[in-house]
Subunit: 128 residues, 2 copies
């Protein structure tokens, strides 16, 4: 299976698949003409990474998850710890975004939003 077919099978862009090879996440064989040749296992690993990425894991975390996936003697606690840390990260981002949202909302509420220049939003930025 060449890279185009693998891209269709995984719904990943070709560029992304080549990048994943470059950084060592997958190791496809090469055909006699130099084309990359993806096995079902390769495609499976690519899908694994795609799913992990879509859940918010970084490339390095995906690498770790793949190594756990490969490890028959893994402890599920290690996987769970990774996921819990990711949840913590998400929670921190949520807090930050909610705080930003609250501040912006407060500012927006006080702004008339007409054709005159007086603007509490600009004033806030200039005052701080």
């Amino acid at each position: 299976m060449n890279i185009g077919s693998a891209a269709r099978a995984t719904e990943l862009p070709r560029k992304t698949i080549r990048y994943y090879e470059e950084i060592g996440l997958v190791h496809p064989a090469r055909a006699h003409n130099g084309y990359r040749d993806y096995s079902d296992t390769d495609v499976h690993r690519l899908k694994f990474v795609q799913r992990a990425r879509s859940l918010g894991f970084s490339i390095e975390e995906c690498r770790l998850l793949l190594s756990l996936y490969d490890d028959e003697h893994r402890a599920s606690a290690d996987v769970k710890a990774l996921a819990l840390e990711k949840i913590g990260e998400i929670d921190r981002k949520l807090d930050e975004l909610q705080s930003l949202r609250a501040t912006l909302s407060r500012l927006v509420e006080t702004c008339q939003g007409n054709d005159r220049p007086d603007c509490p939003i600009i004033d806030d930025l200039a005052r701080a």
Copy 2:
């Protein structure tokens, strides 16, 4: 005021201040020795940008906010529109993060987290 003092006054790293000049957000004068020389106005603009960045505005949005700040004939509606769009952006990110969090939480709850290899989190990644 040289860049070190400006950095202390604005709580921005020197590198960031130079970058803001490079991309045309501020235009400090130069002393005879080639050192950047920041006026109170320059420092004020830097603080303005720092505050806007901390509220989640991108550099290009900061550039726009600065031009509105400079424009005595601005319409506050334009500023408000920018802030509202930013709130919408934040809401989209919040939705996405909350969705990720829910998925990860579901997976984490089903995982025993012990020293055995069976792991619904890995299974989910591999199955999808």
